[in-house]
Point group: C2
Chain length 123, copies 2
C-alpha cells in the first residue's frame, strides 16, 4: 500500500539521530573554457567530503544536459552540525579559492527539508 | 591531493556498468491545502522505488525552506534502461494519477550528466 500517512516523517533525523537532515541544491554557472577545471576541482572535493566527513551523506555534482554552462550540486547532511563542519573545513576554503574564479556568477544555494530518506530506504 | 584530473569520470557508469548514470532534478509547485497529501503520495512512492527498483539509486524529495510551495525531487538512475523501467511501471502511473491533481502547475524536469558518483564514494 503506497498511500498511508507519512506526515510525521518531515524533518527526519539524520544518521545519528541528533537533528534534522538538510538538503541543498546549489547551482553554478561556468563558461566553457573553465568547465574541465571546475569539474576536476569540485568533483575531487566531492570525493574528499564523502570519504572524510561522516555527516556528508550525499554530494552529487551534475551538468545540465540542455544548458552545459549550468551545473547543480545536490548535498545531503545528517544535521546542521554536519553542514557547519563541512563549510568551515580547510578543504572547503581550499576548494572555494580554486573554484570561485572559474564561476561566471555567484552560485545560488537553496535549502530544503527532506521528506523521505533515500539512503536508509535503498535496498 | 584534491586537484588531479577527473575529466574522464564524466558520464560515469552506473551500478551495473551498462551505461551512463542520469540525475534528474524535478520541481513541483503545491498549494498549502494539498501539501500533506503530496508528501504522503510522493514520499511513499520514493520509498517504494528505492526498495523495489535496483536501478533507482537515489530518490530524495525535499521542501524548499524559503518557499514551502516548492518541492524538489532528486533522482539518480544507474542508466537509461533503469529510468525507462521506472517511468513505465504501474506504480509510476498510479502515483501520477494520485499526485497530478495536487499540483499547481506541471512539474519541470531537468536532466543532468553526473560528474562524480556519491554512492560509491561514500565511506
Amino acid at each position: 500500500m503506497l498511500w498511508h500517512d507519512a506526515g510525521e516523517r518531515r524533518g527526519i533525523g539524520g544518521m545519528n539521530g541528533s537533528g534534522q537532515m538538510i538538503m541543498l541544491v546549489v547551482t553554478f554557472s561556468v563558461e566553457e573554457q573553465h568547465r574541465a577545471a571546475f569539474e576536476t576541482g569540485l568533483g575531487d572535493f566531492a570525493r574528499w567530503s564523502l570519504a572524510n566527513e561522516p555527516g556528508t551523506l550525499f554530494y552529487q555534482l551534475g551538468q545540465d544536459e540542455t544548458d552545459p554552462s549550468t551545473y547543480r550540486l545536490i548535498e545531503l547532511y545528517a544535521d546542521q552540525a554536519s553542514l557547519d563542519r563541512h563549510s568551515t573545513s580547510d578543504a572547503y576554503r581550499q576548494v572555494g579559492k580554486a573554484v570561485g574564479p572559474l564561476l561566471a556568477a555567484a552560485p545560488t544555494i537553496v535549502r530544503h527539508a527532506p521528506v523521505n530518506d533515500s539512503l536508509s530506504e535503498k535496498v
